[in-house]
Symmetry: D2
Subunit: 342 residues, 4 copies
């Protein structure tokens, strides 16, 4: 940590900063400077020490700025865990060098609809099946999902087709039942900082698919993953799914593909891209899914629907069976070209 | 709803749009145009009808754009409820023409600290006491609050001082215990779209203080309030607390005071401003709190701490007792000048 | 400047950083640390030295982060110029403790329209007259202003009414003619980083009214003012006029009133607020103009039109004569309440 | 255009809207609705008619919302110009199915440096040479470029190597001299709405490389291109170079690759991606350049420097000669895989 003084800070003020630090048993170091001096803290601080010092020193009139000098993510970061993590969910592996394609409808609407989707997903060559049972909807008047009934359908279809499944869990008290019925817990973008939910998902030991909040910074995203990891659950997959768009005329979100190489430089966790929610527009899904392969993602999550025109939610971004199948073919070719398996 | 066709859409394509609408028992109206035609739906649609049609029609290649023509918030909107709502929380009224000042520390740290804060808040002339028992923290390694012990302290201090209290509830399963110990449930900015929590807070009937998410649109904010209202709980106060800052050099968030007059044109619910979290910087709290009075807010929530230098969280934005007391005095004068009571 | 090394950086790598610095005749200082070490530069650097070092050191694999420790604005900053600047434009003073109200239409449309507006502005008690002669328009097919003819009208009306005038100049080659016809040069938000224009405005010595770009950080805003100040022209007034809105449903921009107290802590230059362009909505102008007084602004710029329904541009945010007059009255009362003259 | 009335608008108010429209010689159409009615304008409007009506009608209290129903870009849009445009600049073609790689340093620093860069660019197989002579710099204290001397160097190096060249022009009065010395005029991101410059570039007839402003919407970007096209100059290449980042911790801008397929659906103009400025980080350039190929771009602009550690500006995002050469090789392979030539 580095505490930068304001121009003209007196020796007494420098002393005051040093005293506050020394009172906490930490040794400061005065850094001379023109026109400003600074006080450095050479020691590694715990998170609470950092927050404490930042609060106390940040209030002093003669302190100009405080800079953190150590990484806040102990478990997700590459610094202390340089080897890549492989996350196993059912019969699917993330981060193993095999490009994962997850497909399926926004909502589980009925056994027939979901089974049909599963058959198409499998036929296309994708390896994991998504579907929403509990649906987070901006309006209380929108379809909220089939809930427990949807989970039962997912389990049945998974057993019948052999496809691993993933679905969103929206609250801590549903983690157990969702974990019993599916292979992977999805934490949605709006729940990225639902800390009780993250802790419960961590405790479950079940693989967790954590979506980035639309306004979350990379640090906040990784710190959310720390909540899961810190419960002793190392099975976290990160998912980029679009950041807040200033211009919503032609897309609902801005898929931030830059986050893929950025995350790869910071963390050992696998990174997946969701171009369907990430753009909100069906015609953008294929180009951005393909770009995700090249940018270094470990997989993509694609919304498809056996009959998009009949979808109860988010139909406008779903691919139909033919479009989905064609895209999986293109992704396979591209992944092979890039030296990945699929 | 208005469905705008692309340039050159054929009669057959117009017919297809009309058929889709008619199949749902709704009568369309063709609107001629140069260079584009459009199809209008004169009838009032339910939310699910809108979502359904938007999904289905939005996928058609020859449809250019779909415009909604009715307000999505039935309960929060002024259209069907033109008179202002007054929300009672303990002995405090929001929206009654009396300007409300809520004060208190970020976290309840001990009985002594919180009682001291309460005495200072009361002495300054503020009427409601805030304090955090469950703390949503970006990092799992930060202080998470005293939790149930904090609630007990809040109840005791409220009984001793007569001040109404408010605290944040972070998950649906804690609504009951928080409701038993305090006068008002705060839904934090990161929980604004935690729908199970909103529903449970709605069911409790307890007054709800709903903070705007940092990236939430006004519509999303009002729709979140609909989740509470829709459970038969009319006691919702809206709180502006800063939107995402592109430039975090000098403030943590951008307090969006514009939202106060905007919300006043749309909803009958009271609107409160939190300049402490809304800016994240102690020196900006006073000017922005005063500006909030003039902009038409029904109250402010101000973070203060009996000894900010010892605060366990967010010390850098808290006012000390003297600053808080001086600010309440200024707010009182300004509110009176503006014809409000305080 | 502080150069933070990555975890595990070797002594040889620390030496390499020190050599690069020493080769430029600057003495580095090694700052020990756990888990990272850092290299500090105690000396005050010129801008080019900083940029140079940042580029060179920023490319080294073993450097984690570079932090600047000195203020980039030498002329606009309070550090080296603590007394407030008063800018005189015609008979109007900015920053003298007298609250300035600038009023007038978006565009100068004709002598009759502009003279009528001027009479209303004067009658309302405002002291400066605005009007656009050169109009920056998003589309080439929109009305581009009367240009030189508009300038002549401005000069005539100014002479007839005694009101000081301000108008936008969009390119360096028009600075001279605009300076001859009006009392103050406005640099529009879209031109905030038109550096040749800033330099020319600086050279003219004429008072400059610099609007913040909608996506400009505070630092970029102040650095733009440095371009003018650096030409020996100290007469710069800063104008907040709204930042980029993520949610454009109810306002065109987000007026960032927080920038007023932030700028007051950083610079000695006067700060004015434009709630008309800052929100883009007529009904938000009055509450936000009043809030600007309380937040510490030195003045406001308000768009009014003698007949808004006939305005050739931006009519939807303009006040009519009565609304404008009522608002000036309210501002006067509020300014007096706040201890300002008007 | 569709004018949506507020709930409860009276027949007289509907009539008032219709009168305003009829007074302009346009025939309105009343669209019944529950709970709101609307007035449609079937005719195609000129831009000024639209702006005029929007201003006048937008001020009426009983009008809720106005929706535009025709595309604002007449020349850039695919609607009236469905065939793709090929832009020729020197011996380089954009949009012809051949993937273009532009390389070169941020600034022309000397003949030796620029010639060396050109040799490396040519050896790597890239076909166009970039370099800055006039540099837009946030601070007036940064290196501003060699200006006219830089142009002369560019011309000499172009003649010696046969490489087509491109450089930025920052003001209207420099268009002529830049056009004489290079093959393509670059309009920088900060100048995207410098309308006098756009008009002058349009008049020159020279090919124009228009960079998207960091906060520009897609519509604003295309409308800026209309300023050039409208002068009778059809030779415009659009360049995506990153939008405003909310999180600047790991990148300077957010390269918005989504804009590539979005623009391809809207315009016939070629689209190029600049991952160097678009991310601001050297290690992100290669993955994002490759992703651009797959997303459908017509080319990339890559910053390279013969010795990045000695660069006078922006060294931290420049590739060195080896990195550049390796990247061009990868791009060639990928372009061929995607069916493009390079």
């Amino acid at each position: 940590m580095l505490i930068l003084m304001k121009v003209g800070a007196s020796d007494a003020q420098i002393d005051q900063v040093c005293s506050i630090i020394q009172n906490r048993g930490i040794e400061p170091l005065i850094l001379p400077g023109e026109p400003r001096r600074a006080v450095g803290i050479p020691a590694s601080l715990s998170h609470d020490q950092r927050v404490d010092l930042e609060s106390v020193l940040g209030r002093l009139d003669f302190v100009s700025k405080i800079t953190q000098t150590s990484s806040p993510f102990k478990l997700a970061g590459l610094e202390f865990h340089p080897e890549k993590t492989v996350v196993q969910a059912g019969n699917v592996e993330f981060g193993s060098g095999k490009f994962v394609v997850i497909g399926g409808p926004c909502s589980v609407e009925s056994y027939e609809q979901f089974r049909k989707a599963a058959d198409q997903v499998k036929a296309a060559g994708a390896t994991m099946l998504r579907g929403g049972a509990f649906k987070p909807r901006t309006s209380p008047y929108s379809f909220q999902g089939l809930q427990e009934e949807g989970l039962a359908i997912m389990k049945r279809v998974s057993e019948e087709t052999g496809l691993a499944t993933i679905t969103e869990v929206m609250s801590a008290d549903k983690v157990e039942i969702v974990a019993e019925h599916t292979d992977m817990l999805q934490i949605g973008a709006r729940s990225m900082q639902n800390f009780p939910l993250l802790i419960e998902a961590g405790k479950s030991g079940k693989p967790v698919f954590l979506k980035r909040g639309p306004s979350a910074t990379i640090d906040e995203f990784l710190l959310a993953s720390e909540y899961v990891l810190n419960q002793g659950n190392p099975n976290v997959v990160l998912c980029e799914r679009g950041i807040l768009a200033m211009d919503k005329t032609y897309m609902r979100n801005v898929l931030d593909l830059n986050s893929v190489p950025v995350l790869k430089e910071l963390t050992h966790l696998p990174v997946v891209v969701d171009p369907s929610h990430g753009t909100g527009v069906a015609s953008l899904v294929a180009p951005m899914a393909k770009a995700a392969v090249v940018a270094g993602a470990d997989g993509v999550m694609i919304e498809m629907h056996p009959d998009p025109n009949e979808a109860l939610s988010d139909g406008s971004q779903a691919l139909d069976s033919e479009q989905f199948s064609a895209l999986v073919g293109e992704l396979r070719g591209l992944a092979e070209y890039c030296g990945l398996r699929i």
